[in-house]
């Protein structure tokens, strides 16, 4: 131990610390200043940045004793006397905050830059910002809003970038910061790891470490004996069901007989400190009979293959998904031109910057027994009680977590409560169970709260990824340019467990014609079990993969036909009246042509050229379009229940609260729900509190997936608010002496013609008459039909077009995206500020898909085992984004809206490879683009590149319909 003296945000700190302590640990654990976040503990992500003597440093690898005598600044010290720092205000105004986990680090890094520049009287430029924030990663925003916010905070006049939308209502359509952003920019926002409970233990998980093996024995005796260890649990200690799974329960909570991938959990430990828990893992002995590894999707389906799940009826075939429409032979017979090509897409990682964390609290937990108070009491009041097993977690599906944890604990679902904490990014990667059940099991075993925080490296190894695919696709068109037929076969690597493979790859299959009117279609998809890390949901949900293949073929066809690629797409674009590949007739809200028109108009602005040179740099435009369903579809019941309550606060006036379990990933759901409720009740959105994800206090909003929450939960919130309004209406009508049906709720008033009464007054009347002002509404989305029925598989689709301007260094084949022009048909913009954030973030995420991201596995072993080996786009990759909002209202969506969360991250990658082709004559058939291979192709005048970065083998030849 050594003495550490420093100032933190102007306060003297004088403490004794272990010599081997990092500054981040002192701040977060010793000083309980949790505003500084931890993303990787490898000096990669930058979110732990604080200022030391004014200089940004990553606190996760900064020895605490280096800070001795220094002046430390953290996010908590930025606002002074309730006054926000200009950076904080600008981040709010520009919507530069989404999930918020990176925000403290980004803001502190920016503060270092602003302070340094103002000290020498220099103006901050965009180049300065890109240089200073090069290693400050944000996975949500796409960086444009961050750049603009920092410029504004530096004193420059930069308005928030908000695209034009149709006329706003009282709250709906108003650009407004997400309600939780204020907490996120001040360091007050609490993510799961920011919670601490008196008596809390720390948990770690013993992983398989091998891709495939039979468990011969597990010996935990030595680990149990280690001082400070409270519990070591294995499969034998699970009181209930030892399986979980969002779609199919095939994933052991703790493996009993075999392990199927490196991240499989074999034992769990709870101990006094994370270090002891870690040490205990080393003492657990597991003997395996090593089994052959299944890692290749095509070999996996051969009759002699080793089986990942011996009892699965179809061997390693997780599912065969089929789309059939028309007469394929007739379609190709009618084609004058055909393109037949095979593509490959990589496994990719969400890289949400908050690693998974769950805290289990046992039923009957009493903090005073451990000599402390639960600080949640002050914040949550009676909601902070723990009368049942409680799990604090940032999860996309709280009710499913609850039910699955209850099943494993062997108790009824209502004996478990899930409390959603803020989530530091999800993107589909927080739908499956990871530590939730383990934390609950350990909490009940130890009768103490237990925190299960994953390391970044563990997170990389464990949670489901985006499916790698091989896609062969044949597209036919007439010489006039009308598409006649599409045939495609997809192989998707589902990894070791079912997760959401069935659903994700169904979406890849049904969207495999692209958003085009194609009369004859035949698509087969094989979802395959392997010993790779499981794959599940990831923004785009399979469509990102098939879009790459579809839109590459479309450009190739256009070239063969001698048609302008934009015109070719227009000729075939889905529109109202078109029939999708699954036989659904689009009856409304299909704004693809308007998206194409808007992008095309901007792209062909002054002096348009498809490609040109500037020195050794070659520039080229590329375009692609996309579409994505809103909602679960395929006949799945799709509903959400919301509760809305209104009351009168003597100081603040009328207040509303909307309660629903739906998850906030940073996408802006609270703002959307507040707007929907405010619009119905005539209240400003600021007066609508949003409570999400507490299964004891929020009705079920269903999974936050499939771009469904604005639509489904938005409707539930809106209609619950309307139900409350209906309870207030008779009181208002009685007061005004009018018909309740004619009342309107506007600006805090309830109005009938010339007469009005304030909502506050009516709430007083309600109180006096003991009239209930709370209502629930169970909203059912329009019914959908299963694939193969030919009916409406989905109740809405979002459409988009994107043009990208790529810059290719012809000496190195380095590719950069300089500009993106985008148009998205979202039905209705409910909050243009947060909507734009979704669009910009989605686009940049898809730039990563095209250029930087590949989760590499070698025979079931992740090569990508540290964050340093997985690069998402940084601020230097951020293009200028010009965004158009197209609003073809839906009849049934809230105020006409449909889903947008996934849509922007679908067509960017083929737009980029289409631009690369135009620039170089080289067709890239695998992602992410490898500059090494691309340069070789350019230099040898080759016309295609088959290997992506991280690929070692050529794309296999696959037969349409598979080998079976």
């Amino acid at each position: 131990m050594s003495r550490l003296q420093m100032t933190v945000n102007g306060q003297e700190v004088d403490i004794n610390v272990d010599d081997s302590r990092y500054l981040s640990q002192v701040l977060r654990d010793d000083l309980r200043m949790t505003g500084t976040k931890i993303g990787c503990n490898e000096a990669e992500c930058g979110i732990c940045t604080v200022l030391v003597d004014g200089t940004p440093v990553v606190s996760c690898v900064y020895p605490a004793l280096k800070a001795n005598g220094r002046r430390i600044e953290t996010i908590e010290g930025l606002d002074q006397h309730g006054e926000l720092h200009p950076l904080q205000q600008a981040f709010l105004d520009h919507g530069a905050v989404q999930c918020g986990i990176c925000t403290p680090g980004v803001i502190m890094t920016a503060k270092g830059l602003l302070d340094q520049k103002s000290a020498v009287g220099e103006t901050v430029t965009e180049a300065d910002i890109k240089s200073a924030l090069k290693d400050s990663y944000c996975r949500c925003t796409g960086y444009q809003s961050i750049i603009n916010a920092i410029l504004q905070a530096s004193g420059q006049n930069v308005a928030p970038y908000i695209p034009a939308t149709q006329a706003a209502g009282q709250t709906v359509g108003q650009p407004r910061p997400n309600p939780n952003s204020l907490a996120k920019i001040t360091g007050k926002a609490r993510f799961t790891d920011d919670y601490n409970f008196p008596g809390m233990l720390y948990a770690r998980t013993k992983r398989a470490g091998i891709p495939h093996g039979r468990i011969l024995s597990i010996n935990t005796a030595a680990a149990r004996k280690l001082a400070g260890v409270h519990a070591v649990l294995t499969h034998a200690d699970i009181p209930g069901r030892n399986l979980h799974g969002v779609v199919v329960a095939d994933w052991p909570v703790l493996c009993a007989d075999k392990v199927r991938y490196v991240g499989d959990a074999v034992a769990i430990v709870a101990a006094d400190t994370p270090e002891i828990a870690e040490a205990a893992l080393e003492l657990i002995e597991v003997d395996y009979q090593v089994l052959p590894i299944v890692s290749d999707v095509i070999a996996a389906l051969r009759p002699n293959s080793t089986l990942v799940h011996e009892t699965h009826a179809e061997g390693n075939l997780l599912k065969h998904i089929k789309v059939r429409k028309g007469d394929l032979n007739a379609g190709f017979a009618a084609a004058d031109v055909v393109v037949d090509q095979t593509y490959r897409t990589p496994t990719t990682e969400h890289l949400f910057l908050e690693p998974e964390c769950s805290i289990g609290v046992p039923a009957g937990y009493n903090p005073t027994k451990f000599g402390g108070n639960c600080d949640l009491l002050a914040v949550r009041g009676e909601r902070a009680k723990h009368d049942k097993t409680t799990i604090y977690v940032g999860s996309q599906i709280p009710y499913t977590d609850r039910d699955q944890a209850a099943a494993a604990l062997g108790v009824p679902p209502d004996r478990v409560r899930v409390v959603a904490t803020l989530m530091g990014g999800g993107f589909g990667g927080k739908e499956d169970i990871v530590g939730q059940i383990h934390a609950a099991l350990l909490a009940e075993a130890c009768k103490r709260p237990v925190k299960m925080l994953y390391t970044r490296q563990e997170s990389l190894m464990v949670h489901p990824k985006r499916h790698a695919t091989i896609i062969r696709i044949r597209t036919g068109a007439t010489s006039e340019g009308k598409l006649t037929a599409v045939e495609a076969t997809l192989y998707g690597d589902g990894g070791a467990y079912a997760s959401l493979s069935d659903k994700v790859l169904t979406r890849a299959t049904t969207h495999a014609t692209g958003p085009y009117d194609v009369p004859h279609v035949n698509v087969d998809c094989f979802a395959v079990f392997t010993n790779n890390v499981p794959c599940g949901a990831f923004r785009g949900f399979g469509v990102t993969q098939s879009c790459f293949a579809v839109e590459s073929n479309m450009d190739m066809l256009a070239e063969k036909l001698g048609l302008d690629p934009v015109e070719f797409r227009r000729m075939n674009a889905l529109d109202v009246g078109s029939v999708t590949a699954t036989g659904q007739i689009l009856r409304e809200s299909a704004g693809l042509n308007e998206c194409i028109d808007k992008v095309d108009f901007d792209m062909r602005g002054q002096n348009f050229r498809w490609t040109w040179d500037e020195g050794h740099l070659r520039y080229a435009w590329g375009l692609a379009v996309g579409y994505k369903n809103t909602g679960l579809g395929g006949g799945a019941p799709d509903k959400a229940t919301a509760e809305v309550e209104v009351w009168l606060d003597r100081q603040k006036g009328p207040q509303a609260e909307v309660r629903i379990s739906s998850a906030e990933l940073g996408q802006g759901l609270p703002g959307v729900l507040a707007a929907c409720v405010g619009e119905e009740l005539g209240l400003p959105a600021e007066q609508v509190n949003v409570l999400l994800g507490d299964t004891d206090f929020c009705p079920d909003g269903g999974p936050t997936t499939a771009s469904r929450q604005s639509y489904v939960s938005g409707n539930a919130a809106r209609l619950a608010a309307r139900a409350v309004a209906a309870k207030l209406a008779p009181l208002a009508a009685g007061f005004l002496g009018c018909d309740a049906a004619t009342l309107e709720f506007i600006d805090g008033e309830i109005i009938a013609g010339e007469e009005s009464v304030s909502v506050a007054e009516v709430l007083t009347l309600a109180e006096a008459s003991a009239t209930s002002t709370v209502a629930q509404y169970e909203y059912w989305a329009p019914k959908t039909e299963p694939l193969g029925s030919g009916g409406d598989m989905h109740f809405a689709f979002g459409f988009c077009a994107q043009a990208v301007l790529c810059e290719i260094d012809m000496r190195t084949a380095e590719v950069n995206v300089r500009q993106v022009i985008a148009a998205h048909d979202v039905g209705r913009a409910l909050n243009p500020l947060t909507l734009e954030g979704q669009i910009e973030g989605g686009i940049v995420m898809c730039i990563g898909y095209a250029l930087t991201e590949h989760y590499i596995q070698e025979q079931g072993e992740p090569w990508t085992n540290v964050m340093a080996r997985y690069k998402t786009p940084s601020i230097v990759h951020a293009p200028k984004i010009i965004s158009h909002i197209v609003e073809h209202n839906t009849a049934d969506g809230p105020f006409g809206a449909k889903g947008v969360g996934e849509l922007p991250s679908i067509p960017t990658s083929p737009a980029i490879t289409n631009a690369i082709y135009r620039a170089t004559g080289v067709r890239v058939r695998s992602l992410p683009v490898d500059q090494d291979e691309l340069l070789k192709a350019i230099r040898t005048s080759a016309t295609e590149v088959e290997l992506a970065w991280g690929d070692r083998d050529p794309i296999p030849t696959i037969k349409f319909g598979g080998e079976r």
Binding site: D19, Y22, E42, L65, T109, D135, W863, Q931, D932
Partner: protein
């Protein structure tokens, strides 16, 4: 793994540092910014040590000074301090350029040039710039103090002749560029998940009259240690700078190394092509700078 040491010391003099190293008798480790070392420890690639000796509080270790014809850099000087230092920008341009691309800003704010050189990676960017300036390092230990050319300090990938458990790199120096000298640096990366360069190169050269009278070329990774392209350097001397001459030098450099492809980083061919492309370009840039320094000097004289 969160533990990295038992005792963390921040000596304020070289003598104190050496006394600590003597005391721990090999179970200590000298650390500068720690931005490489501690990441490796966090990843479990290195074991914790009994004592960590922080070299960045030693008196005068933050100094960058120019005396006579020499620029001296203390072991506590960070990459950021080098990048922003007018003396180094002017008299050791390629060093400032090399340090400017290391890691990210937060790492450059903490990481030191001394650490970069002592870490002895085959392609440390700061190291590469320093080598092209024919830099020297001062090593202090129980057995005294010695200066050696930095190029002689590399024993293998990540292995230095400095015994980092018993010795400390206290200072670095290079001969300041004179009129007629110029230097330049370039690095090629890929945007995917690898923080290591495909190729990192630095050059300095001197013009006498119309001809090149001296040249130094450093590059990596082209082998287990940073490479000095002696043959290519020699080939330049005596001729005026020209694109042909520079391309020829690149070919000679290539003939004298055995390039290897490294998994997920670059193929041999790509590496070779980057050397062919960029070595002539940075030689030309260095020559331009050399010429410009003369014009500037003449301008001042008149």
């Amino acid at each position: 793994m969160t533990s990295f040491c038992t005792n963390y010391h921040s000596p304020v003099s070289v003598e104190e540092a050496i006394e600590l190293l003597r005391h721990y008798d090999g179970d200590a480790r000298v650390v500068g910014g720690g931005t490489d070392l501690l990441v490796e420890m966090r990843r479990g690639l290195r074991r914790p040590v009994m004592a960590m000796i922080d070299a960045t509080r030693i008196a005068d270790c933050k100094i960058i000074s120019r005396s006579d014809d020499c620029v001296l850099i203390g072991c506590g000087v960070t990459h950021t301090e080098i990048i922003n230092n007018a003396t180094i920008k002017k008299f050791g341009t390629c060093l400032a350029e090399g340090c400017g691309v290391i890691g990210g800003p937060q790492v450059r704010n903490v990481g030191t040039l001394a650490g970069n050189v002592a870490h002895a990676l085959p392609a440390g960017d700061g190291t590469m710039g320093f080598l092209a300036l024919a830099g020297e390092i001062e090593i202090a230990g129980v057995n005294g103090v010695r200066w050696i050319p930095a190029r002689d300090s590399f024993a293998g990938p990540g292995r230095s002749v400095i015994d980092r458990h018993r010795e400390i790199l206290t200072r670095l120096r290079f001969r300041a560029a004179v009129i007629g000298e110029g230097s330049a640096f370039h690095r090629v990366m890929r945007p995917q998940g690898l923080c290591l360069p495909i190729i990192s190169m630095a050059v300095s050269l001197r013009l006498d009259g119309a001809s090149i009278s001296a040249a130094t070329i450093s590059m990596g990774p082209v082998g287990p240690t940073p490479h000095i392209a002696d043959a290519a350097m020699k080939s330049l001397v005596g001729d005026p700078p020209s694109a042909e001459k520079f391309s020829e030098a690149a070919e000679i450099a290539l003939q004298n190394v055995t390039l290897r492809g490294s998994k997920y980083r670059a193929t041999t061919e790509y590496r070779a092509q980057m050397i062919r492309t960029y070595l002539p370009l940075i030689l030309a840039r260095a020559a331009e700078r050399a010429a410009a320094s003369r014009h500037l000097a003449e301008g001042v004289a008149s």
